[in-house]
């Protein structure tokens, strides 16, 4: 870490398998740094209050609200954004199950679902609900998202 002693610090973030040096204020959220300095805009700004899950990224495999995390706290973690998840079965499941409309909440849901499938390969509907209720979608009726999640959890459970 290099600090100018006043307002900015250079830190290293480990995102999607790559390391990046970024210059942050102590108050910068992880969300803002990912979006504005690394161009990883898949994590969305929506409520910035931890209520909607649109900013979800994975830190050491666990879903977190990047709007409530400071960038400076995240340097020792292995981060994953939606851009690091190209061509996964979960993404395909969201396409196949009509779980996408405007697409704004989609990256958050998909990353949350990815972590769920990894942590709980045989998740029951109750566990799915417990995980997924952290994310809001305003376009779909959630049914399609539920079917997409179930299809992936079931598939990975059988694997």
């Amino acid at each position: 870490m290099i600090s100018n002693g006043k307002s900015k610090t250079v830190i290293e973030l480990h995102v999607n398998g790559d390391s990046h040096e970024v210059m942050v204020r102590s108050g910068d959220t992880l969300l803002d740094i990912l979006r504005e300095q690394l161009g990883l805009s898949g994590a969305k700004r929506s409520c910035e209050n931890g209520d909607c899950g649109a900013c979800t990224v994975l830190a050491d495999g666990k879903p977190i609200h990047s709007c409530l995390s400071l960038a400076i706290e995240s340097c020792d973690q292995s981060l994953m954004t939606i851009e690091g998840l190209m061509g996964s079965p979960i993404q395909q499941a969201f396409v196949d199950n009509w779980a996408i409309q405007c697409g704004f909440c989609t990256p958050g849901f998909i990353l949350n679902c990815h972590a769920l499938a990894t942590e709980h390969p045989n998740a029951s509907d109750e566990v799915i609900e417990e995980w997924m209720c952290s994310n809001l979608c305003r376009c779909t009726g959630y049914q399609e998202i539920k079917e997409a999640v179930q299809s992936v959890v079931r598939a990975s459970g059988n694997a």
């Binding site: 805009s41 910035e48 376009c139 959630y142």
Partner: protein, 784 residues
């Protein structure tokens, strides 16, 4: 090579053309652009619902590093608005709602602008607050606008009443209500209400504006109405329409909330204050809920009169629309609610007074359904209660009165199968799907009551009388086609539907059609707006016209190549071929850029098809009677909800939500199903848990998603059932009507009806949270 005679896209559940990129997270929404040098604006907003602005002190704010400009209302002390110009973009002299923009701070970084916003000191002198439509309507109420008669009318159908809080009064007078009312053998009257709510699109509104040295104004916005931005900037900032360029990317949910022009003028003023530099203005969630326009509140009183057999004779409707501090689109909603006030029922004698009421609440704009989910809640609750009084089954009562060809609408439009479709068939099908005949209310356990509610609904597309769309098709050297059209993709699937219509017409593989997803108002032909369930209809017709133009050119060029008459040719499967001998033809790719003779001479050049469509024979409404033709067709439908209610703690679970829609020909059944489910979800969320909570001073107590509850994963109905009746509309592309808004319209009413039956008490006020059901049961329910 086949002739592709059996080729089809319309009616197929084709995968959305935007789904893969959205799943990958690579779609760039408005807020996803970051660039060095971009300036950031933040708003200072009102801390009072109604107050005089005594002074604004900016000295401390200027001390924050990075601040480049601070703009206050004096910079532009004029009123703007889409229907009635009554709103200063930045409050000046007084504030009329909590959250109203008072000043803009522009800084190098967003955090600097936020810091400076905190340091702008505004001194207010509080004024009496108009905190409900009822209060607003009373004689002697404090006035939200003292000079409403001086406001400029932007469209003709708006009638403010000077000296009152009435921003517009719309009347329907059909038949002879007074005489007919006296002849009724059974009558019923009730009052319904709900507070203002919000769209809560997951993407908050955001815009970037710059003014170039040559005087061009470049606007980037997540808008449903790019050409309205041009219109508004022209009308109020006096910029030539041609000098305004609007860019719109894919939009992260809109639901009507991005149909009006609110943030863009503020960003323009901000850019102007910094010499035209590019300025970004993005709402926080809180600002998106209360500073930018929200969804109307309503107080409705409905009186219905019928014969003792249950035939409706007369209906009286009084709507007090809570438009908040400014009329915006609420003035249009007031009109739309009036012109469809009866719901899809044949009522020969109609008296409707629909008032757009100013209050000191956040102002409202269009919301999916444009007045119809709201009026339908009141109408359908009344239908259920009158059915009970008549001792008739609610479905039987509805079928006795369902609108049909030969009847007239409240605005006296004569209905036929072509424009009205088949409402009765919808209700019959919904009745089967909800298994109505197995009983409307059953006690299934000690703490379990299952009950069903039904709702009919209708809506016409109340567009401008000159609403239109255009399309340009350019053919690529590989024979594929670019489809350019100003329809905005807000998640509804418009771009996919238009591609399917084009594929069907050109008998071409969908994969060979490339739709421009983003809009540039300089490249794309004019389109009215992407609102009012009008895109498939207007833009779909424009695509068909453009395809016909392209086909004519393809046949001409192919006729030269094949040395025959264009009349002898047909287009399909990527080829132009002889009708008489389909084996003989040319590939489109070989003539897409013209036909080249063996000696190199080339004729005709690129195939560029263009087409347009404009509404036909629509008229404004007569001021005194409402007489007029508001829309080209209605879509009608029925919805049903089954709940499981706990009589001990009044909680409930939604088991089934059903929509049967006569949407004409359904272009893509899976996307249409998506729209119906999403609409039901939005409507059920609104009805079951949403509403702004105002304190005595008109302050919104819940302007954030922690306290303003929308439906979450797990709270959705256990089962959605969707079916379509497809009565074609002759004017629609392949017979399609509009469908985008319809899933939401009857949801609140069906929920209200099922819960009223479950709880054995009439629930006439939203949201239907367990506590309010309990209060109603105790006889303590208060109107909002």
């Amino acid at each position: 090579m086949t002739t592709n005679q059996g080729w089809k896209s319309v009616g197929n559940p084709e995968q959305r053309i935007d789904a893969v990129e959205k799943a990958a997270g690579t779609v760039k929404y408005i807020g996803d652009f970051a660039m060095p040098g971009l300036l950031h604006a933040k708003l200072v907003t009102s801390t009072h619902a109604h107050a005089k602005i005594l002074s604004i002190h900016t000295e401390e704010a200027w001390k924050v590093p990075g601040v480049r400009a601070i703009v206050t209302g004096e910079m532009f002390p004029f009123h703007i608005g889409p229907i009635l110009a009554d709103r200063p973009p930045l409050a000046w002299e007084k504030v009329r709602y909590y959250g109203e923009p008072v000043a803009i701070v522009v800084a190098d970084h967003e955090y600097q602008a936020k810091q400076a916003v905190q340091k702008v000191q505004v001194e207010y002198q509080p004024l009496p607050v108009v905190n409900s439509v009822q209060q607003a309507f009373e004689t002697g109420a404090p006035l939200v606008h003292e000079n409403s008669s001086q406001y400029m009318k932007i469209i003709s159908n708006v009638y403010p009443v000077p000296g009152t809080n009435i921003g517009s009064h719309i009347k329907i007078r059909k038949g002879d209500f007074q005489t007919a009312w006296l002849s009724c053998e059974e009558i019923f009257e009730a009052t319904y209400s709900f507070n203002l709510t919000d769209h809560v699109a997951m993407e908050t509104r955001s815009t970037r504006v710059e003014i170039t040295p040559s005087g061009k104004v470049v606007v980037h916005s997540c808008t449903q109405s790019p050409f309205t931005i041009k219109k508004v900037f022209n009308q109020f900032f006096n910029i030539a329409v041609g000098n305004i360029v609007v860019h719109a990317p894919l939009v992260g949910g809109a639901f009507g909330g991005k149909g009006t022009v609110q943030l863009e003028p503020l960003a323009y003023l901000a850019s102007k204050a910094v010499g035209g530099k590019l300025v970004k203005l993005e709402n926080s969630r809180e600002e998106d809920m209360i500073t930018s326009p929200c969804h109307i509140g309503l107080k409705a009183t409905i009186s219905l009169g019928a014969t003792k057999e249950g035939k409706l004779v007369a209906g009286k409707y009084t709507f007090l629309v809570d438009s908040g501090a400014y009329t915006d689109q609420a003035a249009g909603i007031t009109r739309a609610a009036a012109l469809d006030c009866t719901g899809p029922y044949n009522i020969p004698n109609v008296w409707c007074d629909s008032y757009c009421m100013y209050t000191n609440h956040p102002f409202a704009t269009s919301f999916r359904g444009y007045g119809h989910p709201e009026l339908t809640f009141a109408v359908e609750r009344t239908m259920d209660q009158l059915a009970r009084k008549l001792n008739l089954d609610p479905i039987r009562f509805r079928l006795l009165n369902t609108i049909k060809p030969g009847d007239t609408s409240p605005t006296q439009t004569l209905l036929d199968a072509n424009n009205i479709g088949d409402a009765a068939k919808c209700i019959e099908r919904a009745k089967e799907l909800i298994q109505w005949d197995q009983g409307q209310r059953r006690e299934t356990g000690e703490r379990k009551v299952r009950s069903k509610g039904i709702s009919l609904f209708w809506k016409t597309s109340t567009t401008a009388t000159n609403a239109q769309a255009g399309t340009v098709l350019t053919f690529e050297a590989d024979g594929s086609v670019n489809l350019n059209c100003a329809a905005i993709e807000v998640g509804q699937g418009a771009k996919t539907v238009l591609a399917q219509i084009l594929a069907e017409k050109l008998k071409m593989d969908l994969k060979d059609i490339h739709v421009t997803m983003e809009l540039n108002s300089q490249y794309d032909p004019h389109q009215w707006r992407t609102v009012a369930s009008s895109t498939t209809f207007l833009a779909g017709r424009a695509v068909l016209a453009a395809a016909e133009d392209a086909i004519r050119q393809l046949k001409k060029t192919a006729g030269i190549a094949m040395q025959c008459s264009p009349e002898d040719l047909d287009v399909g499967g990527g080829r132009v071929y002889l009708k008489a001998n389909p084996e003989y033809g040319v590939q489109i790719k070989d003539i897409a850029l013209g036909y080249k003779y063996p000696n190199g001479h080339t004729v005709e050049g690129q195939i560029i098809g263009s087409g347009k469509y404009v509404q036909r024979h629509l008229t404004p409404m007569d001021e005194n009677t409402g007489f007029g033709k508001p829309g080209p067709w209605w879509s009608v439908g029925a919805q049903a909800v089954e709940v499981e209610w706990d009589p001990k703690d009044y909680t409930y679970k939604i088991l089934k939500a059903i929509t049967v829609l006569d949407g004409g020909t359904i272009i893509n059944p899976m996307m249409a199903t998506q729209q119906m489910r999403g609409g039901m979800s939005l409507g059920l969320s609104f009805a079951s848990s949403e509403g702004f909570i105002f304190d005595q001073q008109g302050i919104v107590r819940n302007p954030q998603l922690r306290t303003y509850k929308i439906m979450r994963f797990g709270e959705q109905p256990e089962e959605y059932l969707v079916d379509f009746i497809e009565t074609p509309n002759i004017d629609g592309p392949y017979g399609a009507r509009g469908i985008g808004e319809y899933g939401v319209i009857g949801a609140a009413a069906a929920l209200g009806n099922s819960l009223s039956t479950a709880a054995g008490v009439e629930l006439n006020h939203l949201p239907l949270i367990p506590e309010l059901i309990w209060q109603a049961k105790q006889g303590k329910e208060e109107e909002l």
